[in-house]
Symmetry: D2
Subunit: 365 residues, 4 copies
């Protein structure tokens, strides 16, 4: 199969680097266009990231030689698009929210689909916020999005915040089996890579934790409602629940967000054994379609008393699986568990790639 040429916007940043690394041997996609800030523009990618490459995995040889374009220059991307070097872009832009919003729209308007990792368009009503295993049908708003915007081939899809991914798929798996979830308490212990580079100072993370991450609790409480919402007319209407109370902490972990969760079901309540079985057996569209980045088993259930743990479980199944453990009754609600996922793979670039695979399989790319 001829690989699809793709571009990465914000290619020199933390998430951008993760995209470049993860796409190195992708069976469907090939990075042929990279764009970043004016500071990096005009340099070969290898030079632009020299001394700033944060991953142990390297970028592919071809990518190192690519000339970095200015991400603000949509015309440059359009030229690449026309030349057949950039069928769509992954957006890992790091700018002010408003700038990202406008810029992603400019790419889409120019006919270039945008699969975004940025938070700018998460609450735009006609932009789907996709977790491929949960709401792949939200992608079907794309034709309406195009129509409403007057866009021909371009469109925008986004993915949600990284920290909710450690528990959203487990929640959904239970809901899908008919178990309403009314309320949930979540306390997260989040890795520093989620804050980018330089990000969190080491003086705050040696022999310390920081019990606060700006904006994170609000996102954790609101984003699930859109993901679980429904497409009505040309807009995505929030689900009424579950109601969430989130407490987000930064801890001295490189990668991997851990979440301690308590769930209150509706009137129908599953047994602990039933929950474990539902999670272990959960499969969704990405698994049916055998998408390259889809984990074989989206939810891995661990029986040991002290798992999941970030360093031991974050890399499970290409770092795309969610690992759950400590599944037990709650003294106040119905069920307690601990969920964990890799925040820069499953929660960021890997999740974006899986979304693109889904869109390709569904004919949108």
């Amino acid at each position: 199969m001829q690989k699809i040429p793709v571009g990465v916007l914000g290619a020199t940043g933390m998430v951008g680097q993760q995209y470049i690394a993860l796409l190195a041997d992708h069976p469907w996609f090939e990075v042929r266009y990279v764009a970043a800030s004016p500071r990096s523009a005009g340099k070969p990618y290898a030079e632009a990231v020299a001394g700033r490459w944060h991953l142990s995995r390297s970028y592919g040889k071809g990518v190192g030689d690519l000339m970095v374009a200015d991400a603000n220059d949509v015309q440059s991307a359009l030229a690449a698009f026309k030349k057949g070097d950039c069928a769509f872009v992954f957006s890992a832009l790091e700018m002010a929210k408003d700038e990202i919003k406008a810029l992603e729209e400019a790419y889409a308007a120019a006919g270039i689909p945008v699969v975004s990792n940025a938070s700018a368009h998460r609450w735009t009503p006609d932009v789907p916020m996709l977790i491929a295993e949960i709401n792949p049908h939200h992608a079907d708003i794309i034709p309406q999005q195009r129509e409403q915007r007057g866009w021909d081939k371009g469109f925008i899809v986004v993915k949600p915040n990284c920290s909710i991914q450690s528990y959203m798929t487990p929640i959904w798996a239970l809901m899908q089996k008919g178990y309403e979830i009314r309320r949930m308490f979540v306390t997260t212990l989040q890795a520093v890579s989620g804050a980018g580079y330089p990000g969190v100072p080491s003086l705050d993370m040696i022999d310390n934790i920081v019990p606060y991450i700006g904006g994170e609790e609000e996102k954790s409480e609101q984003e699930p409602l859109k993901i679980l919402g429904s497409v009505q007319g040309g807009t995505i209407v929030n689900a009424p629940g579950p109601l969430v109370s989130a407490h987000c902490n930064r801890v001295p972990v490189v990668d991997g967000h851990t979440a301690c969760v308590s769930l209150e079901f509706g009137d129908k309540k599953p047994s602990i054994e039933e929950v474990k079985a539902i999670w272990a057996q959960f499969r969704a569209l990405p698994q049916e379609l055998k998408l390259p980045f889809a984990p074989e088993q989206p939810i891995i259930v661990r029986e040991e008393a002290d798992r999941p743990q970030p360093r031991k479980d974050r890399d499970a199944d290409k770092a795309m699986a969610v690992t759950v453990g400590r599944i037990r009754p709650c003294k106040l609600f119905d069920l307690r568990f601990v969920g964990l996922s890799h925040n820069t793979v499953r929660g960021a670039a890997g999740g974006g790639i899986l979304n693109a695979e889904l869109l390709k399989a569904r004919g949108y790319l």
Copy 2:
């Protein structure tokens, strides 16, 4: 004032060392008797802890020269008692629960009061589990304890688990002002010193967290009920609430347990400002009595968005204060906050010393 001679049982262990260090310049107490396992017995204390002293603060010169006794040898303590070298003992014994239980009773039966840090007697109905600011009146069960046991001067008091201290005093301060607390969710991020030495392997704590501490969640859910209970006849009867759901994690922090808490009040609910005022103004018996280890302000309220933090707040007011922050409404219950206290000072040796000061001030020592 002539200082009261005291003994420390388990003096070479982690908590024992903390007792020795904290008592170095104590205005009322002076360590004149140290006892540990047979392995250490017969050596000068300095030799017994050589290469095993874990604190930056050192032991006093006099203590280094004390000959370590065998903690199992109650007669030896009794001889010291009679010689005027040991009016009572702090117990930081590290043995099997049953052995500690029997041994502490043997000391008490021999006429030597035991102020214990061990968990063995926490659920013995006539043994008070004291937090000096919360339930000092539980000490008044001592005469009944003596009578029931046939003990003359000896008695046993204990202190609760270290991790609940980061939120129990704040909870109590609100209850005392007439605000019933029905239910609470607690997620703790606990320091490694709580597991003793060698304790948690570094392979589990570098770039990692462990979402499990054996027995800790059960203690966190049950101990508050006894602390808030009432003395009825010769026994302490549990309070009916609050109902607690606890999730306990081990994190890469040396000292200082952090707790993320959500509270559900009864029908009467304080405002956020009222909560802050109650906490900042809270004073209790140790403050009235001006006990040496009593923090001036038992609950310190921080207004910064990202506090309390273990390394920055654990040492507040001789490491005896509880620091609270992020006081805000809860999306599901009524109030959320983060509490923090020093687990080996406030939560262990320092708390034990404060209990002894209270008992002295009340005439029991």
Copy 3:
């Protein structure tokens, strides 16, 4: 090709697990026999390591079902050998040195070759201490070893200590080009995985370093002399130099030993550029033979000012390459550099596997 069945002694320990994980997809070898302490014996491997598996990479499905044998029971291994389940063993035994020495000899005497990771036989004069890129010809002492011991097919080869591997191959590459190295200063910053599990307590590794590792400096000063020695008669005679002064520290890093090295050359001294070129171009027998675990480029030269770094460079080329950087003149000697290698892969199990591949290619297995 039919895979060669191999056994792993000490299969449940830290290094044993690393062997199991690394051999999971090995093109030549297949683990068909696992042995450990009597405590684990008689259980399926999966059960024996449940809750004690320390790697993110898992063991293969087949290995999980293998019944663990008692490593002390050579007859059991012999039976597996005769059944065709164990052509040779990797020894990752963790016992007293004398016991390991005797036990490895018993396996060899029984006709089972032993490729060992243990230190017990490092100083046995007729046992080669191999680094496959440096002294592969030392393997040619095997026939003499057999003859001297009266062994038929069995033999023992060992590998050196993990920490010297971060600089021995670079040293050798220079020597091979005719540059004598007279003296060298080495200061190591070693990862905690080198101490096994539970190993170093987290209380010693959070906000701390420990400037001492028992026995490590002596090994670092002596082992190079044997590795660089020559086979004379049936014994390996030490090289006269280089003379080494080593200072070994334990630091809060999971995997990857870093070494700061200063070299004093003999009369002939290479330029900095020559050193870089020699290292970048260095290839040896494992590369010529294209052994599966051989890194393509054994020494990777980094030009950035702040590399190598453990987390970013330890996994280079299957975690089998040595990465060097900060190559610069020394104010006192001639050359300074920083070397880094993965201590449990290149420095332990991976190095052992490469040795076995070499022995196979040379006809000894």
Copy 4:
């Protein structure tokens, strides 16, 4: 005694905060003037550092209320000087080197003595670089400095880089006893607080070390020569030795620089026991003068195999002592040892305060 009013320039930065905290209960000095960048100027100190205070120790109540001045505004300091609020200043300025140089000279020219922690003037020939135990006599260049500059009462003294303090006093103690030190190898493991705040990103310090600190090796190799130099005419002439080769690493430690040192003596060589005795008995002018910040015993000798360690030894004797251990012969040179000191106290603010105490005792302040 009436306390001497002092000012702190750069009072809101990392070292500035340390000055403020350490001076809180100083018996001779009282902070009555604080200056910082224009951003902080005009605010009360408490407000200027709100959310940016990095120490567990707090600033004194009086200081919190002080209005922050603009450090560039020498007239403002002069007004305070005239009002009797600022007899001299501690400089913890964080600006470009040239700006600091000019600004410190402007203060001195205005008649305000400057006791500086900045590196700007370390190589100015008539500015002494003081370690109070080593070269207190260098202060005697002050009259010549004033004369050469045409300054009346103002002058500038500086202190050397933090990392060399972990071994310079031990070196000096041996030199003073007649043992020439010809050459020395030093490898440092330096704490992150040395890089200020935000300083080193946590992504570089979790499960990692960085074997490079810009400019640090050069300083470590050159500064000892000035400290050990002699005042000749109006200038300080470097000592000819010792020759130093330094390798500097950043490690995940909050406070406390560790140094692994190898020494080559001249023809006369002390025994190990003699070295230990010389160090344990070393006392210097600050001890004779009983200066408030002088450690009673400037060099603490530890006999345990695994000390000194940063977390356990950095706070020794008000964090002003140097702790040494692992004193043993060197395989290549004569003596090896490990030295440790607190980089932000002994190596920065505490060292500056001790210098000021010395200058006061000598009549310069």
